[in-house]
């Protein structure tokens, strides 16, 4: 597979897309970890929802 004289433009496009997508995935994953951690800390201090269910509960 030869990319010709404009290889740097092609590689830069794909690299930029990969970088932005990795940052997006990383942001979503870190945000999830941060929110669940904060909820756990609040529940450990005895702050619970009115329903009494865990705030991270999924069912």
């Amino acid at each position: 597979m030869s990319l010709g004289p404009y290889a740097s433009f092609i590689v830069a496009s794909y690299a930029a897309a990969a970088l932005v997508i990795v940052i997006l995935i990383g942001w979503v994953m870190l945000d999830y970890r941060s929110q669940t951690q904060r909820l756990r800390e609040l529940e450990e201090r005895g702050i619970t929802r009115r329903s009494g269910r865990s705030a991270t509960e999924r069912r």
Binding site: M1, Y6, V28, L42, E57
Partner: protein, 261 residues
């Protein structure tokens, strides 16, 4: 499961927990197939290998408009139907849509330099997409500027619906004005003008990027629901502290008045 069932955030979290691994797996598989097909697609007779930028540029450009469309429907959900998850969906989609729009602009610029001889031209298509990107940023700033999510949601919904006027302008800008950007070659009356050897990898990449958006959007919505739970628990904690300190002050005053008597 109906849309009304999903109005319950706990049910929505249960659904995302079940669906997200499958969506992520499907995205990875389709992206791998799309990238393989893009790598081995033939060179264009005019553009040479730079046509490969199309497989990354076009899906991002489509999604930049599609995400705003999703946010517009969610905004209607906020203003008209008052669906509890509508503003969560709109808020979660904005940074993802901004990223796709940024990539559409950047890859378009990198494609434009070797093909047009310039990175940027103030023509109707490029300028209207730049405006879309700025609107995404403005919307994200608005969400951050207002503390109360329900107040921010209404303002953001109005702004999103006003901004939706830009979508047909972007789509038809190449027909309405004389632009450097080429006219539509896939979604047009009379069918695609692209050869199958380009069209198939392009469609696979477009589906892969759409799946990527759905996966990231559901995950970001889940995070937003958790963030709002954190906020409500923090408010409960603050009101408990205020209540107990009021009680403390009240008993001090009672003791003081007893002492004085």
């Amino acid at each position: 499961m109906t849309l009304i069932d999903l109005a319950n955030p706990t049910r929505f979290l249960a659904l995302t927990a079940r669906v997200l691994p499958w969506l992520a797996a499907a995205t990875v598989i389709l992206l791998a197939i799309g990238l393989y097909q893009s790598a081995y697609a033939p060179d264009d007779y005019q553009q040479g290998a730079t046509v490969k930028i199309m497989f990354i540029h076009v899906p991002n450009a489509w999604l930049s408009m599609f995400v705003w469309g999703v946010m517009s429907i969610a905004s209607l959900g906020t203003l008209v139907w008052r669906h509890p998850l509508a503003d969560v969906a709109a808020k979660a989609a904005a940074p993802i849509g901004a990223s796709f729009t940024f990539l559409a602009l950047l890859t378009g610029s990198l494609w434009g330099r070797p093909m047009w001889g310039t990175y940027w031209e103030w023509d109707a298509r490029l300028t209207s997409v730049l405006i879309l990107f700025l609107m995404y940023l403005g919307l994200m700033a608005l969400w951050r500027a207002v503390d109360d999510p329900s107040r921010a949601a209404r303002a953001a919904a109005v702004l999103t619906l006003v901004g939706a006027i830009n979508l047909p302008i972007i789509k038809f800008s190449v027909d309405w004005w004389n632009t450097l950007h080429q006219p539509a070659s896939v979604m047009r009356m009379g069918g695609s003008t692209l050869d199958k050897s380009f069209l198939i990898p392009l469609l696979v990449m477009a589906i892969a990027f759409t799946l990527l958006f759905v996966t990231l959007h559901l995950a970001a919505m889940r995070n937003e629901i958790l963030r709002r739970r954190v906020r409500s628990l923090q408010m409960m904690q603050a009101s408990r502290v205020a209540f107990s300190s009021e009680l403390g002050t009240g008993s001090h005053q009672e003791n003081a008045s007893k002492g004085a008597a």
